[in-house]
Symmetry: C2
Subunit: 394 residues, 2 copies
Amino acid sequence: MTEAKLISSLNEENLSYLSKTYVPSRLLLGPGPSNAHPDVLKALSLNPIGHLDEAYITLMSEVQKLLRYTWQCNNRLTLPMSGTGSAAMEASIANFVEQGERVLVAKNGYFGERLVDMATRYKADVSVIDKKWGESFSFEEIKYEIETQKPAIFAIVHAETSTGVLQPLDGIGEICRKNNCLFLVDAVTSLGALELLIDKWEIDIAYSCSQKGLSCPPGLSPFTISKRAEDKLSSRKSKVPNWYLDLSLLNKYWGSDRVYHHTAPVNMNFAIREGLRLIAIEGLENIWERHNKNAIKLWRGLENIGLELHVSKDVRLPTLTTVKIPPSVDGDSFRNHLLNNFAIEIGNGLGDLSGKVWRIGLMGFNSTEENVDRLLNLFDTELKKFSIIDSSTF
Amino acid sequence: MTEAKLISSLNEENLSYLSKTYVPSRLLLGPGPSNAHPDVLKALSLNPIGHLDEAYITLMSEVQKLLRYTWQCNNRLTLPMSGTGSAAMEASIANFVEQGERVLVAKNGYFGERLVDMATRYKADVSVIDKKWGESFSFEEIKYEIETQKPAIFAIVHAETSTGVLQPLDGIGEICRKNNCLFLVDAVTSLGALELLIDKWEIDIAYSCSQKGLSCPPGLSPFTISKRAEDKLSSRKSKVPNWYLDLSLLNKYWGSDRVYHHTAPVNMNFAIREGLRLIAIEGLENIWERHNKNAIKLWRGLENIGLELHVSKDVRLPTLTTVKIPPSVDGDSFRNHLLNNFAIEIGNGLGDLSGKVWRIGLMGFNSTEENVDRLLNLFDTELKKFSIIDSSTF
């Protein structure tokens, strides 16, 4: 039927030897992805259905309702974006920035830097408050900058995955409202794990990811905006310069019209419904308590071994702990040892902290006492084998 | 520990009744998604692993190798984008258009229109050749327009899912090269199902989706670019105005550096590896033949029942057939009948063709003789029940 000559170097004989898809089983205690809950993986592997099927439309509504609970908000426009957390971060900029508007970014880590990069691409007039990687911003500093700079958007990271800092957010919303500014929060490493109150804290734009607090694989990113942010969106002078992430189009599909925008990643939405349902059943307050309790246990255990934590206790992030790599230890070798011999992943530092800290995540399904015990035990028995000089120093 | 007051209307009691995630099983013979292969769903539900894990890096390389075979190309920059097909469509514009450059779009359906919308958002000087929905472009027309208009990019849809037209592409690549123009092809409904020869046809930029020819759920979109397109990308004067889809950043992760860009949707990549592996094992020529054979069987069967097809035979698309809804039949009622009583989805027409045609897909795993027989049998026995006037007309 066809006379096409297939490219010989790529013909099927070179590829058909490939074995069935397989990946090793790991305990993921790094910065994410975290392990997915087994019930989530079951939901993920259901047969796809059509993205305009009534059964899918019902599932979409349930996902939105569950997301509103998890975000603790009543925002109409609450949905999972069809991409990983970075896509939602970009949506938070692309939809709300018009050329030349001032965006103030509080930058104390890798993800603050990324917000700056994105806002610049969307031609904002970007200004930055800087902090060292591992420190947080005080309320007074933020208040002063917002009042002085009068930005259209103030953006801050709630839980900096690159440093392990938990940024207090209480009161900032009010300052933003008084100064006619939208309050944008990166909640990638806090949603579904740590106290986060969108409505009470008067947050206007927030996004997260699926692979941390929600115990799903990566691929979707919860997103929510307030009525104030909706108003700003509908009063835009120019079209959103990003089609895939255009909330006005997405809203026609996720809102009451259900107008086709793009073919939804239906299976990932099955998975997130299940992850969110498990959260609703456990209850947010119980979940927050569990994450806090297990983090404290980890911190104490690490300090008992003689290790030092990178972030001071008052702003330390329960979902992601940065541990200083002792000068006597080759950090990468130890990480690889844990991965290859014990099937446990912990993370290297990112950016400025690469080689200086390990990053240990306890998120969602993975935040358990058993996991903490298992990891502490390995730090206790294995770390001394990696000391370059003297194992008695820790 | 926390004193937060949870929003009462959203508290867990209102949500905990929600049952385990479930969706009905369907045979998806609409415009997509198509059913996923059972082995793909198994791979999808493997436990996630880290996106910088050596095991994942190996899997990425295998996915790229398998994609090059499926695209029939040797392009270095060949990868799956972390979004659905529309994200890849946007990447094909965002990375290669700079403000004011001319983009010529051949528009004969919904997806051509979308290309125009996107190119406009990226501030291209967009010009359009129009055709009625259901017709294709001749080589001479295309040649004339490229030579006259001298666009920087010529964009065309290989397989128009909205109309059921298969656009012949042979020879266009040469015209584009002679006129210093990049040749951009939408292969959403052809990759892995119909003859498509990226290198031989001198296509510079092409994208597709996971949920059609590749028998995966929606969520990833294969993408490939030629050396010419790479050169254009690296000679850009301005940064790509889209961070998530910026190929220069993606290339650092998928290229040899493996620098973290965004957290990859790892499970969807497990799935696509398996879908592509099944393609390599069956062999592309066999797959093309299977899709053609089953489509011809469907077309004959529909015509035997007395139905008329929307597209003339010479440019009819084997993966997606548009069938005229007889004037005596309420098209939506019949579709709903098939879905609700036989668990088979077929599609309504899109845009201009809404209510005028049904869309029947035979793609990937779903292109089987059994599925054709099952559907034809239902058209034969059930359609007469939906005639508003006289059932003897078909």
